[in-house]
Amino acid sequence: MGDNLISVNNVSVNFDYQENFISKKQKIHAVNNINIKIKKGSFFGLVGESGSGKTTLGRAILGANKISSGNVIFHDEERDYDLTDMNKQDLKEYRKKAQLIFQDPYAALSPRMTVRDIIAEPLEVMRITNSRQETDERVRDIAAKCRLNIEHLRRFPHAFSGGQRQRISIARALVSNPKFIVADESVAALDVSIQADILNLLKQLQTELNLTYLFISHDLSVVAHVCDVVAVMYLGHIVEMGPSRELFKNPKHSYTKALLSSIPSIDPEKRSEAIELKGEIPSALNPPPGCVFRTRCPNPGVDCKGGEIKMGLIEVEPGHWVDQCCAI
């Protein structure tokens, strides 16, 4: 598949939902008919409000969520992996190649583990190394690349600052030598200065280790700075997608425009230019038919076909895709 690392083809993810045992079974449409290609070496951004389906899509691509329909193909050097059709052996190999950066690894891990053990755990669980010495070498190597102090490896994590914890988390994700990384809100909880440091580190590691990222964030300024391609998600759909600069300079979809205008400007003289969106994202149990953004759209055009056409992306400029309800 040439220069793509990941192809997501018509992927939907539904969850069963039942309010109580006598009520009717319903479906939560978390992710709907998504098509994306992630190029090798790209920093692919996924933005959208909370509940738009970003995490579910990221987890589906990692094989951590079942895919209800469609498929995800991981194009490795020698062969393709079809995530909807993998045996145990394939899954084991895929796990080494595709990793998630946890938002905070200590939330999930024992406080009695040293930093060294936290970083080493994936090597041991996946039986990648054959001796303690080999494990230690790998851990030291990746810790140094993540600019962690080697002396810190013997310590317990509770005393570390947010930035150091995030570096440990990155080292843990990278220790198995993966090619693809999903970073889900990896800088959301950090102060701006530490955030800048971690973003620079991710960029540097990308070049050094030939990584491809899926970078999930609700912060558009961050995404605009680090990502080369961006997809905007709303209620399970990608409504717009394109090269980062083009998309931020020339947004086409009403939702993208509203989202961009909501970023608080750092210039005190530019106040309240936000296109205020009314209300909140609707429930994924009953998404509106036609354009999913219709219930909050601040400026449906006179000839807006949002109620009539099915959602689906069309290419309006080379590489710049917009939902057809809004584009036509």
Binding site: S50, S161, H225, R245, S262, A274, E280
Partner: protein, 329 residues
């Protein structure tokens, strides 16, 4: 005219197992009626501790300095000790809203019942009046079906609506001062824009003073009239919002601005402030920022001369870097 709130030379210390921590040192701030003071700074800089001091909400291991004053409406709240006095500030003249609205609501009590109870404590009114004030306030903050929400529990509301309900509860007693501690940090930008607009409208309408705490300089630019920049317990710079954001003088303020990803300037590199924020147990002597400052001069006097704000432009105050390291515009 005297200020609505004036904090003078405040130190806040905590006694811990590891020793005495200086969380806030020698800060002075003021807020006028109808004005928003933004406090910005990294995690651990002392923003919340400052706000909690005003309501006397810091825990039992706290000590304040003898000569500190927090004058609210011509009374020094640091001298309040009786329940009766404290009631005047907590939920009376001062209300506080938080990042996590669930912190404001008791989970097992209906929203309306909590609002009514609070009003009955602070206002000389009956239950019926309290109910109607509460429902009107829920309507005022943009909650549809206010009568229905009045009878619901906080967990039954969506995130954005919960934030509105918390604001309604904080405002229903008509406080003179609103303390808002990261009230939009956990929200999506779209909901954040709604809440910011709501808070701005309400300030105008009721002419209250507000302290708005955030680590987001963009939010500061949108809401604040004046800004105080805090680092490791000290105010290093303060002044009108335009001055601070467009003509910053202190190396720390400049550092914060350079670390910020600006959507209108994608070619600018993201420059972190070097090093880590020290533990408050190892608070540097002299200039608190010297362990991370790019202009730190090892031969200079920044380790010896105390922090002290000087006025560099009308209303724009900056730490006296100049005589320590030769900095400041």
């Amino acid at each position: 005219m005297s200020h609505l709130l004036e904090v003078k030379n405040l130190d806040v210390k905590f006694d811990t197992d590891e020793g005495r921590i200086t969380a806030v040192e020698n800060i002075s701030l003021s807020v006028d009626q109808g004005e928003v003071l933004g406090i910005v700074g990294e995690s651990g800089s002392g923003k919340s501790v400052t706000a909690k001091s005003i309501m006397q909400l810091n825990p039992g291991n706290t000590s304040y300095n003898e000569d500190a004053e927090i004058i609210l409406d011509n009374e020094n709240v640091l001298q309040f000790t009786s329940k009766q006095d404290l009631k005047k500030i907590r939920g009376g003249k001062v209300s506080m809203i938080f990042q996590e609205p669930m912190a404001s609501f008791a989970p097992a009590i209906k929203i309306g019942a909590q609002m009514v109870e609070q009003l009955l404590i602070h206002k000389n009114i009956n239950k019926e009046e309290a109910k109607s004030i509460s429902i009107n306030m829920l309507k005022r903050v943009g909650i549809a079906d206010a009568e229905k929400r009045f009878n619901q529990y906080a967990f039954e509301l969506s995130g954005g609506m919960r934030q509105r309900a918390m604001i309604a509860m904080a405002l229903s007693t008509m406080p003179k001062l609103l303390l808002a501690d990261e009230p939009t940090t956990a929200l999506d930008v779209t909901i954040q824009a709604q809440v910011i607009n709501l808070i701005k409208d309400i300030i105008k309408e009721y002419q209250m003073g507000v302290i708005f705490i955030t680590h987001d300089l963009g939010v500061i630019a949108q809401v604040a009239d004046h800004v105080a920049v805090m680092y490791l317990g000290s105010v290093v710079e303060k002044g009108p919002v335009n001055e601070i954001l467009k003509n910053p003088k202190h190396p720390y303020t400049k550092g914060l601005l350079q670390a910020l990803p600006d959507i209108n300037n994608l070619d600018a590199p993201l420059s972190p402030i070097p090093g880590n924020i020290p533990s408050p147990l190892d608070r540097p002597t002299g200039c608190v920022f010297r362990t991370r400052c790019p202009h730190h001069n090892p031969e200079g006097k920044d380790g010896k001369i105390e922090m002290k704000l000087i006025e560099v432009e009308p209303g724009h105050w900056v730490d006296q870097c100049g005589i320590k390291c030769g900095q400041n515009g």
